[in-house]
């Protein structure tokens, strides 16, 4: 086991020294800034390191950019959420703005929820947010998004099933 581990680490080190500069350049073109590019390049290698093994690579750069592309999408999603969160905070009256540490903690939770609901169709996601976060009942949601009551119930069940699968497996 120890030798397999160290072989894996060695492979990642080779990948890193051969392609890190290229990957950072690739990410910089995608993101438009060098700081985020350096961070995400780092994350890309960290993610490969966390895997059990690196597949035999004929096209190491295609492999790296596939992983990095996923991280770029996550990065944008996270930035969009951060923006929405800051907007929300800005609209609160001063006395209701949460403390800095709570703000960060809430953002982390929101980010986890956002990712959990990422795969859902927009209508299902909206219905679920209305039920869960706005406390609307099924008839209210049905009226709100213009679908039948039984469709709303199906949406909510699908959303819960999706969350359940992420959290507990099949």
């Amino acid at each position: 086991m120890a030798s397999a581990d160290s072989r894996h680490q060695l492979q990642v080190q080779v990948l890193y020294s051969d392609h890190n500069t290229w990957l950072q350049g690739w990410l910089r073109r995608k993101l438009g800034n060098a700081f985020d590019a350096a961070d995400l390049a780092q994350d890309t290698f960290m993610r490969i390191l966390a895997r059990q093994e690196v597949p035999e690579l004929r096209e190491p750069r295609a492999f790296l950019s596939t992983i990095a592309r996923g991280l770029v999408v996550e990065h944008w999603r996270r930035r969009e959420l951060e923006q929405a969160w800051l907007e929300t905070l800005a609209q609160l009256p001063e006395q209701e703005v949460p403390s800095p540490e709570n703000r960060l903690q809430f953002l982390e939770t929101l980010s986890a929820i956002d990712n959990m609901l990422d795969q859902l169709k927009p209508n299902i996601r909206t219905a679920f947010l209305l039920a869960q976060l706005d406390g609307l009942t099924c008839p209210q949601i049905a009226e709100r998004i213009g679908v039948s009551l039984s469709t709303v119930e199906r949406y909510l069940a699908a959303a819960l099933r999706h969350c359940y699968t992420i959290r507990f497996g099949v």
Binding site: Q83, E87, G135, R161
Partner: protein, 338 residues
Amino acid sequence: MPPAITHPDLPVTGEIASTVVDAAIDWMVKLEFNQPSAATRDAFDVWLNAQPVHAQAWERVHSLRKDFASVPRGMASDALHAVDKQRQANRLSRRQTLKILMLAGVAVTATWAVRDDVPWQRALADASTRVGEQRTMHLDDGTVLVLNTDTAVSFDMNGTQRRILLRRGEIMITTGDDITYKDKRSFWIDTPFGTMQALGTRFVVRLEDDRARISVQDGAVQMHPAKAKESLIANVGESWWLSDYAIESADTLGMRQDGWADGVIAGQNMRLDDLLAELSRYRRGRVVCDADVGDLRVSGIYHVRDTDQVLQFLLQTQPIKVTYYTRFWVAVASDRTR
């Protein structure tokens, strides 16, 4: 992947048959997202106690909702609805930008997303207001600058020109005489969509998502789009849209463009949905207007300091119903009983 939400008090392993999970989820929908009858509750109790695995499934399904409970409701809802809306808008504007760039034969890069960075505008600004707030500032050169709700500006008044950068929201400018300088310096307003020079004047500039509106009350303003060579002079009483490539005549929607500086929305024959959209700029959260009442016509003077009172007034004078879903979310729809 960001860390998954975990609950130390629940075992994570062990599968429960999917039919049981589905049943538990159906009960959740019936009991917690509806108003269940006593009979439904009794039936649920029977199901819950029928087998230990039912209780276990119920506990798991229930635990999913805990993930959401740790963020205050209004805030979580606002942030997540807002991000959905923003993503939709971003997708549209990316598609649109892409089309424009391809038409222009320009190489497509990622940098055009920069303008979406809305909340940082306030952090970068020299002066700003929150939603529902207004502020009047007297600058050294004698200029009076009024910031409307949710606005951010920066200024540079010490150079050879006087410049104000409107980052967000809406301002009214009454230019000063600049008497402490030997030669009166020119006065410029910069926006993301272009720039404009004041020619001895009072005027209002308002930013929207993809353009700025200029309305002149006194004097004149010369407008220059960010990406086109043409320029145009706006005269007293005129309103114009300034965008990256063009200047177009703007519809004032029946509203007095500088009414807000007096704390009011004032207008004749305004569409109800336009009035509500305007009103919602002064309150936290959203005011949603149903399409079937959007074209009701209203006239009058509405105070922006107390938007709830305006909604109450409209409720009394128009065939509408006003529903407060949450503190942050108000829906206006047709009242069919009237």
